[in-house]
Amino acid sequence: MSDVDTLRNNLIEIRDLSVTFPSEAGTVRAVRNVSLDIRAGEVLGIVGESGSGKTVMSLSMIGLLAESATVTGEINYGGVNLLSLDDNAMSKYRGKDIAMVFQDPLSALNPVHTIGRQIAEALHIHSDISKEAALARAVELLEIVGIPRPAERAQSYPHEFSGGMRQRVMIALAIANQPKVILADEPTTALDVTVQAQILDVLKTARDMTGAAVVLVTHDLGVVAGLADRVAIMYGGKVVEIGNVEEVYASPAMPYTIGLLRSIPRIDGAESSRLTSIDGAPPSPVALPPGCAFAPRCPAAAGQCDAAVPELVRISPTRMTACVRQSEIAALQSSGKLFVEGPRHVASQSSGDAVALEVRSLKKTFPLLRGSVLRRRVGSVYAVDGVDLTLRAGRSLALVGESGCGKTTTLLEILNMVAPEVGTITVLGCDVAELSKKQRLEMRKDLQIVFQDPFASLDPRLPIGDAIAEPLDNFGMSKAEQNQRVMELLELVGLQRDHASRYPSEFSGGQRQRIAIARALALNPKVIALDEPVSALDVSVRAGVLNLLAELQEKLHLSYLFVSHDLAVVQHVADDIAVMYLGGIVESGPVEEVFARPQHPYTQALLSAVPIPDPKIERVRKRIILQGDLPSPANPPTGCRFHTRCHVRSTLSPELAAKCVSDRPELTNRNVSRVACHAPLN
């Protein structure tokens, strides 16, 4: 490291860290000779996809790797090499100097101890504090992280909290002893986007309060843009680029970073019309390429790239990258030879007013059961509570909302194609309530679904050719015809014909999703429902699948019904959008319109919560942070479902505010869209 760095206060110095694990398939080289500095008080973002080694890095810093891990190198903190310490010695640092916030707060907290007790324990471990004082401090900490009625809630158990609340508790645990370093491993990945915004805020508060350095490990470039001072990009177990966050985002130097930044959809629509896709998938740490880990996918790869693993080289006082063709990259990029821009998303011309799918006043309630022997109904869960949707032929409608809003239930209700509890579902002009069994079977040809998790949607025991052929087989196609059609479909989705006899486990996530799409296309449907089609995929792979979907829609005149929580993806891919909250649609309309001029306060808050992967914008952007938690769908608020968290309501006149509590607003036309609000914006 140069003198420029040593001038700054290095809190942790990682030198030549390598971590390997033994496994069935061979040695897993999770981290390879990584050297990194963490400076006092800074926020360092470590960005990477699966297999990049980022989580293993963070676990090494706190010494919580699995027993079987082999670790070499040094992690120097305060003059001590942490790796040389045994468990007892390292335990003195954990929770005091170095603290960690984990990804899944439900499993991370002890289910049989109260929250207060768990926080108090963190205090007891490192200081001689009395029971009462510890509990009092625990309540204080709960307040700092924004938990309402902290004294009361300290007596509750983890399962009585919502996900966002639990993560706040985790943060409170982390800051209890004024740590110098806070490691946060994907702290918001398991949370909804509005809750994510809240938690990122809490992290900021935590950092301000303790002055600690924060190492934020994530795959989300938007989250890093808002919070980090420096960012390190990891790929294949190595750091491939590191520098100030603004510089890296503005002018990335390593091809992987360039491709990554260009491939993620952005909600502010700056370049959202073209997504650059990167071929292939991140390498498995068991089978790393001999030279640069990115070479197999890099459009600028040359012979020298496979020769040796590139080391980090300083290209400016504040930037280092690991690319042997560094000097030529900028030139290649500007001449357009580096990454090919993806197809422009064309807002489809709707073929007249043909309606592919229509839903009116759909309701679905589930009984709330208690007891285990003789279950009795103690109430209802109003999962879907009056939903209207219109999908026009040839267009894409996105159904957007956070977890628990009922969007997946709506989707499944539509797919069931039986008369719903309340309301009507009309598929391609036919009311499903009037379908005979035979007609319904026929209709299934026209409405197909692609599921979220590509690992779960294919039967692990069937070769993919058989999986794709299943719908064909069901409708009586001959074997020969089936085979031919399967080949056609494989080509259509960008896979090779001879892959048909292989099993799902031999494909990557992106490829499996393509197989699922091929299967959905088998019967030439007119409408395809997609449940979060890319959220389970690696970031660098998403663009490819999204581009494929756009291509297919144009080629085959498909109509898409998307369900998603990722607004950036929706921006790129959908024509129309319907925003859902607690079982009801609060706003719907054309995507550009709704995103540019949201009329419902929830839509506004939702849009505001989505992080933008551009530090200059993200850091100064004004965010609307919603208060409180999502109410339970078993006990929805009276009147407007959103009124308990509405940030606009406090600005209304008393009569109007009272109306929000008493009257449930109807979805009414306003401007070009439809809104369900008594006091819509704009």
Binding site: V28, T55, I449, L458
Partner: protein, 308 residues
Amino acid sequence: MATTTMSTTATRARTGADGLASDRLSRSELIRRRFFRNKLAVFGLCVVIFMFAIAFIGPYLSQWNYYENDFENLLQPPSRSHWFGTTQIGVDVFAQTMRGLQKSLIIGLLVAVFSTGLSAFIGSVAGYVGGRTDKGIMWIVDLLLVIPSLLVLVILSRYYQGRSWLLLVVGLTIFDWMITSRVVRGLAMSLRERDFVRAARYMGVPTRTIIARHLLPNMASIIIIAATLNVGGAILGETGLSYLGFGVQAPDVSLGTLIAEGTGAALTYPWLFMFAGASLVLTVLAVSFIGDGFRDAYDPGSAKSQKL
């Protein structure tokens, strides 16, 4: 989180330049490799094969039959002509033990196969169909678990005195299937919610095809493991009953009856029951090793949580 990422990427095959698996470590090969790497499992397999071989071929190798009396050699310790010695009435213990082993092995195998088959059927129906059917079936399962099986089997032994030992197999089966059916039911319930089953439903594939094409193959591994472990349990059950005199009846012989007969004089003439006892313990031990070996081979991650 690191460990889960590692194991998922490790069990995914390697990706080559075409983005596809370069060496086809198919699932069955992987399972076979894991099984044979497990020393205990291989040992178990060898022992079981040996037991079966010796039980059925052994009698042809020995010059004695299990009911012959060699009056010149009463109560003799193991020797060249009588490998395991003789009983008080001159019966060759080796021949007797092999005969008993045959019986116990067959009964154990049959009971395990039938009861596992029964539980697979009942469990998958209960799990997949759900609702009232499920509740009804599970209530019956609970009831059968409450009724003390040993006691009832003892009472029922009256019915198979003087009749074929197949009735004993039936009796043992009736009380053996309940726990496995719970396991299968749980599995069917979770499979029902899997996306690929849902996808098939939304394609309009009929229920029986879904069960045959998707459910059963995915449950096969668990069912095989359960069946293997049930063999051990069935053998123990049968020998217990036979020991008390309520299982295999004279003149037929099982390891249990042999132990019962041999116990009286066992302190001074240990060979009377030692061989039967040892064969029993070894067989059940070997079978449990195999069962655990299967479990580890099919699903190494969950081995810890279910392994006995």
